[in-house]
């Protein structure tokens, strides 16, 4: 190997880096290799680049710290419970429809057969809170947003304002009592945006809005009456904000 000094016209560091990463077009690669063979300085550079590559490959693995493991497990458990509450709710709705629990009465026959009573005879049955306004029959339709299972997710954007920069998220409408919030909040991750009164499926209901880990999504939980600490959850959904 020659000890001739590296000429100013020789390949620079970027070219040598590209050479070591097989990024040069064939003509440039041939020229660079021919130079490197005759230039001790450039051979040293290539060796240094190789050495750097192997030092990177041999960096020790890093383990996720226990506190981060715990935090992420909790966040995923919270996410999973949203899904399972939603599934439970759907199962319960189906069961209620099947058994007619939401209606005035139900007769379960001894043989396991079920007499489905007619929905719509909506009196204050045992399972339904007798609190005023809950079933909406007596309260006049107001300026409450009128929503149902299909329109709920799409309505979120229109109801929740803010969120640009540091601007907090907030809700249009009249704040309702918030006794129920703790019981419908899932995990400790999501923050309450607010509670508003809506019509849902033709009845007066309260909609509780939370942030989610996705800044573009809000979670909405429809309950029968948010002035109760343990309300019935009617629906859980998410919508773009």
């Amino acid at each position: 190997m020659s000890t001739a000094p590296h000429p100013a016209s020789g390949p620079d560091l970027d070219v040598l880096a590209d050479l070591s990463a097989d990024l040069l077009v064939p003509a440039d690669e041939r020229a660079a290799r021919a130079h490197v063979e005759a230039c001790a300085e450039c051979s040293t550079v290539l060796q240094a680049l190789d050495r750097t590559g192997s030092q990177l490959r041999w960096l020790p693995p890093i383990a996720m710290p226990p506190d981060v493991v715990t935090r992420i497990d909790a966040a995923l458990a919270s996410e999973a419970s949203v899904v399972s509450i939603d599934q439970r709710r759907r199962r319960r709705v189906r069961r209620q429809q099947l058994l007619g629990i939401a209606a005035a009465g139900v007769i379960v026959l001894g043989g396991g057969g079920v007499l489905v009573s007619q929905l719509g005879h909506d009196t204050s049955g045992a399972d339904v809170s007798a609190g005023a306004g809950n079933d909406g029959e007596e309260s006049a339709p107001s300026e409450r947003p009128d929503l149902d299972e299909d329109s709920l997710p799409g309505a979120v954007r229109g109801l929740v304002n803010g969120g640009e920069g540091d601007e907090p998220l907030e809700l249009e409408g009249t704040p309702a009592p918030q006794d129920c919030v703790a019981s419908v909040q899932v995990g400790g991750v999501d923050e309450l945006i607010g509670v508003i009164e809506i019509r849902y499926g033709g009845r007066d209901r309260d909609a509780v809005f939370f942030t989610t880990s996705d800044p573009a999504l809000a979670r909405v939980i429809v309950v029968d009456d948010c002035s109760r600490q343990d309300p019935e959850i009617e629906a859980i959904d998410e919508g773009q904000i």
Binding site: L13, D14, L16, S20, L56, A63, M64, V68
Partner: protein, 196 residues
């Protein structure tokens, strides 16, 4: 009959433990409540390493990994198997890191306590190796984030260039070039080269 069943709950978890990543993701989509946890358990250290080395900040890394895993949890049904599950997970994590870095760009960066943050998984690593590792980690931290993310995936985590390209959403040539230029800078800041 009964004897042919796996014994107790242990049967389930060991079945998950040997399932492929694809099978776990499919099981999660089909409602198995343990499958996603197993997937996370399997990959969390590597995802953490990528996030910490890319963001250079343990809090940002934790935010990015959490955000990414929740997104993966929710959107698992949209995974179509064009890439390996692990590539898909890394892509979501790296993108969460890059998003965070962009949002944090205006904020002065928090100096990393290298000794605390980059605790090797194996405490038996020798001191000299640790010191060299810390020097490399520090040098890595001074790279521009695009070069750093490419080097972390390809050189540190050993991803094939094509997978890293997919994870970062750029052409293969771009990844190769980011790695090459990044190595050159690292070689300089590690003192392997006289200034050129």
């Amino acid at each position: 009959m009964a004897a042919s069943r796996p014994a107790g709950a242990g049967g389930t978890s060991s079945a998950l433990g040997t399932a492929s990543d694809d099978a776990l993701l499919a099981a999660h989509v089909n409602g198995n409540s343990d499958a996603f946890n197993e997937l996370v358990r399997r990959h969390r250290d590597r995802l953490w390493a990528v996030a910490l080395r890319t963001t250079r900040n343990p809090e940002d890394a934790a935010d990015a990994v959490q955000e990414a895993l929740i997104s993966a949890f929710r959107n698992a049904g949209s995974f179509r198997g064009q890439s390996a599950v692990t590539t898909w997970l890394h892509r979501i994590v790296v993108n969460a890191c890059l998003d965070l870095a962009r949002r944090r760009a205006a904020r002065p960066s928090v100096a990393l306590r290298e000794e605390e943050s980059f605790q090797p998984a194996d405490p038996r690593d020798r001191i000299a190796e640790r010191e060299l590792g810390i020097a490399v980690e520090e040098a890595l931290g001074r790279l521009p984030i695009d070069q750093r993310a490419a080097i972390v995936l390809v050189d540190v985590q050993g991803f094939p260039v094509a997978d890293a390209a997919e994870a970062l959403g750029v052409p293969i040539g771009t990844i190769k070039s980011r790695c090459a230029r990044g190595r050159a800078r690292l070689a300089c800041s590690l003192g392997h080269l006289r200034d050129r």
